[in-house]
């Protein structure tokens, strides 16, 4: 399936891109992040914190579908 993956803050700097289109067979968000970390070794030192699919916060075991937009968020630090 085709997905769009976006990275923010430290993740964007570690991956070297803010967004990319990927072809993936990953069943879950967790598996997709692992695939992305293989492609961008800079991500391997991080534990991802929050994930959103199609602009909704979701869990790491959420299933992926063709055309999904997946947002990977590093740990947040507002305020």
């Amino acid at each position: 399936m085709k997905l769009r993956v976006s990275y923010f803050a430290a993740f964007r700097e570690a991956a070297g891109v803010s967004s990319e289109r990927v072809e993936s067979g990953a069943a879950t968000a967790t598996a997709l992040f692992a695939e992305c970390a293989e492609r961008h070794p800079g991500l391997q030192r991080y534990t991802a914190s929050l994930v959103a699919i199609n602009e909704e916060m979701t869990g790491w075991d959420a299933a992926l579908a063709d055309g999904d937009e997946v947002l990977f968020f590093p740990p947040v630090a507002g305020g």
Partner: protein, 149 residues
């Protein structure tokens, strides 16, 4: 006017307060988060906030609604900065007006705590030695480090 906004310009705290004045309220609590000159024993020169606005605004509005329902306060609003901030700049402001002070204190505390934990906002500290780090993210490099978020 939305009760939660991300703003790129300096926050006017007096104007913010005035926007919440309500003749049915006898208590008003305002929290301001300021940019301070140190963190974890390093000298900080300035901060940079990155915000993913579509989700931050939606989740921020949800937090305000939760506070109003949970504590029964009359009015609540918050603003959060994005972009580059200098020392002593206001990074976030929360205001709560209520007939009585107790609920206003509790709701204000709830809103700032939830903002820190739930909004897709990241803070990069720029240090006096020229270095810069995303706050918290860098702890993730430590073996066995996990988040409770």
């Amino acid at each position: 006017m939305s009760d939660f906004r991300i703003v790129a310009e300096a926050i006017d705290c007096a104007a913010f307060r005035d926007s919440l004045v309500d003749r049915g309220c006898g208590g008003y609590v305002q929290f301001e988060g300021w940019v301070r000159d140190h963190n974890e024993s390093r000298e900080v020169l300035r901060l940079e906030y990155e915000v993913y606005e579509p989700l931050a605004i939606r989740e921020g509005e949800r937090i305000i609604r939760e506070a109003i329902e949970r504590f029964g306060v009359q009015r609540a609003r918050a603003l959060h900065r994005s972009g580059l901030l200098d020392l002593t700049d206001v990074a976030v402001v929360v205001g709560v007006a209520s007939p009585h002070r107790g609920e206003a204190f509790a709701a204000c505390r709830y809103i700032i705590d939830e903002i820190k934990h739930r909004l897709p906002i990241w803070k990069k500290e720029h240090y006096a030695d020229g270095d810069a780090h995303w706050v918290r993210c860098d702890h993730c490099a430590a073996p066995g480090h996990e988040h409770s978020l």
